[in-house]
């Protein structure tokens, strides 16, 4: 499978008054052509910082201390501001979290959608507006023709996110980064936006990085999942592997705190404790203090990635051959049993490629 984006050993620190925040600590991942990669993790785990570094839109106090981001043979971390400007909104574009604030309140939406075309192409203004109208129609703004001159405040939150999506796809980007595009929307609208993104991905053949802290959303859209915790990716694999055969206790916790229809107890589980302070990240596995399965070594040494399958890796000492066998929480065990059964029945093509199941 062809990689369109390859992030290696990314290390990003922020200078603050209190000291250096070690926000991204050696993150590596890649994005295959045409797939959707979900990055999940609690607030503050470094999801936004990671994708902002791809866009070259890090805050002023950030510095990238190590790593490379390969996009079509070019290291984006070494690209000049001008090169990045020509890539942004053209080859790689981004959808932001809050549709209520991502649009310029004083510019008609038609013009906002046409803007990337005018920046990157030699298209005439008239043609760009016509194309903007087409794309607005495509993302589901009804009667787009008569709404081109309307302003953001004349649209609902869901419609505004559709407009933001229109802006992001108007140039047929090869990579689309969506940073929690549904978090600010209510549940029914969330589902519509997810459906829209899936539909668009097929139409414009783009690769998507989809950030969320809601695993429920992931099942519907992702092919692969990377789980982040405290500035590191701690587990990644196909969506089926992460949902049915998770290995890292943090992933267990995330899955357990996901509301499902068949949970017998009506109280929602939450992982106890809080993420570590990234001014002084712990020496070992950052999740250890919140991990009921933590061993001594978890506090002392960072676990390496252990291979589960060709596509599934997890950084937990539990996978070390010398580690004692532990029983995962009952709900997770149930998932794993389901998984083995599905594989046995041939319903899941195991480790090759976990296609997202519709519905959910």
């Amino acid at each position: 499978m062809e990689k369109i984006l390859d992030v290696k050993d990314l290390q990003i620190n922020f200078d603050t008054f209190a000291g250096q925040v070690k926000a991204i600590r050696n993150v590596s991942f890649h994005l295959n052509k045409g797939e959707t990669l979900a990055i999940v993790g609690e607030s503050g785990s470094g999801k936004s910082v990671t994708v902002r570094s791809i866009m070259g839109l890090l805050a002023n106090n950030a510095h990238v201390d190590n790593g490379s981001i390969d996009f079509k043979g070019k290291d984006l971390l070494k690209a000049s501001p001008r090169e990045l400007e020509s890539i942004r909104g053209n080859d790689i574009s981004m959808i932001f979290q809050d549709p209520m604030t991502s649009l310029d309140p004083t510019m008609p939406i038609g013009k906002q959608v046409a803007e990337p075309l005018l920046i990157h192409g030699s298209m005439s203004k008239k043609k760009a507006m016509a194309r903007a109208e087409e794309v607005l129609e495509l993302v589901g703004i009804t009667n787009a023709k008569n709404r081109m001159k309307d302003y953001p405040h004349q649209f609902s939150g869901g419609q505004r996110q559709r407009i933001v999506i229109a802006i992001s796809i108007v140039n047929y980007p090869e990579v689309l980064i969506a940073d929690e595009p549904t978090t600010a929307l209510d549940v029914t609208i969330q589902a519509q936006i997810i459906d829209l993104m899936k539909e668009l991905q097929n139409k414009i053949e783009t690769s998507i990085i989809f950030i969320t802290h809601d695993l429920g959303v992931v099942a519907g859209i992702a092919d692969r999942v990377a789980v982040m915790y405290a500035g590191k990716i701690i587990e990644y694999g196909s969506v089926d592997e992460i949902f049915y055969n998770p290995q890292h206790p943090y992933t267990w916790g995330l899955l357990n705190s996901m509301p499902t229809l068949d949970t017998s107890s009506d109280r929602l589980y939450a992982i106890p404790g809080t993420p570590p302070n990234l001014l002084n990240p712990p020496a070992g596995d950052a999740f250890a203090p919140r991990n009921p399965y933590a061993m001594e070594i978890d506090y002392e040494q960072m676990p390496p990635f252990y291979k589960v399958t060709d596509t599934h890796y997890a950084a937990t000492w539990l996978l070390d051959p010398n580690a004692p066998k532990v029983e995962p929480p009952a709900a997770i065990k149930k998932r794993q049993e389901e998984y083995h059964q599905l594989v046995a029945e041939g319903k899941i093509q195991s480790s090759v490629k976990g296609g997202a199941k519709d519905g959910e």
Partner: protein
């Protein structure tokens, strides 16, 4: 929009009526009489003068006479200044005042917007420090001090500008600069705060994500959005300017209405004071109306609803 403007003009007339009434009665409460400082006049003469100007009539009747006059564009006759009609006093003196006033507000706001914008874009750099320094200077030093300093150095010492002489544009430069300092400082400070906010907003990040260069982002998105709140302070700045012009006109010997106002107050020249008060109120109300209309044009969220925006 048309209906909205009509409504606003209605309110304007009402406001002017209330101001006319209030000034009239306040004036009556003020100690002293227009002829009290002319010791040469006998009691008999004063009585004749009072009769001539209707000052012997009951206050309420005087008020009605005044209002009826106003409706006919008659502001009365000055007690001083050679018994000229107040309307003539005003019309012959408003030109120079308007000239330096308008020049000052344009110079002040345009430079202030530029300075504030640059300070925000280059936040925490030396440009920002210099701009902040000037803003503090402009706010804290009264404009008559600037006026005196400018006159002393540029007109008296270096002789670049005419001194205390009203003679067309070149003589309007120094008073314009002196008057522009306060609006410049206010606008710069306000603009900087707004622009810093705007530059941190999500839609600016989206504009960058579209591939705009930093300067394109400012020109296409940040400037207009930062200007919206800045427009609201033009009204209060205009007041400052009108007040400031009284002293500055005096220092530069400009034959304007500010100068006239000061003289009228010191001589209890009721009709002139009232005429000028109404004029100042009128100008202020017009400025506020213009600002509101301008606001509607720049901010689409207000344009449609025709009244205060909700967010």
């Amino acid at each position: 929009m048309g209906k909205y403007i009509l409504k606003r003009i209605g309110y304007m007339i009402l406001t002017l009526f209330i101001i006319a009434t209030a000034t009239f009665f306040l004036m009556k409460l003020m100690p002293g009489s227009p002829y009290a400082n002319q010791a040469k006049m006998s009691a008999e003469q004063i009585k004749i003068m009072n009769q001539q100007y209707g000052l012997d009539k009951p206050v309420f009747q005087q008020y009605l006479i005044y209002l009826v006059g106003l409706l006919h564009g008659d502001f009365g006759t000055s007690f001083q200044f050679n018994n000229q009609p107040v309307s003539y006093l005003i019309s012959s003196r408003i030109g120079p005042s308007m000239q330096i006033g308008v020049q000052a507000i344009i110079l002040g706001t345009v430079l202030g917007i530029l300075l504030g914008a640059i300070a925000a874009i280059r936040k925490n750099s030396w440009v920002d420090t210099v701009a902040t320094f000037f803003a503090i200077l402009g706010r804290s030093i009264p404009n008559f001090v600037f006026a005196v300093l400018l006159q002393f150095f540029l007109a008296f010492k270096l002789k670049i500008f005419p001194i205390a002489l009203w003679d067309g544009f070149s003589s309007s430069i120094l008073p314009t600069i002196a008057l522009a300092m306060a609006p410049l400082a206010t606008t710069a400070r306000f603009m900087r705060t707004e622009m810093v906010d705007v530059l941190n907003s999500d839609y600016i990040e989206l504009a960058r994500a579209k591939g705009n260069t930093p300067w394109q982002t400012v020109a296409k998105h940040a400037l207009r959005n930062s200007l919206i709140p800045v427009i609201t302070i033009i009204g209060p700045m205009a007041v400052d300017l009108m007040v400031g012009s009284m002293v500055v006109e005096n220092i530069f010997s400009i034959p304007g209405i500010g100068d006239q106002f000061v003289k009228s107050i010191t001589t209890n020249d009721y009709p002139t004071i009232m005429g000028l008060t109404l004029l100042y109120s009128f100008m202020l109300i017009v400025v506020i109306l213009v600002v509101d209309i301008l606001y509607g044009f720049i901010d689409p969220r207000i344009r449609l609803s025709g009244n205060e925006g909700s967010n």
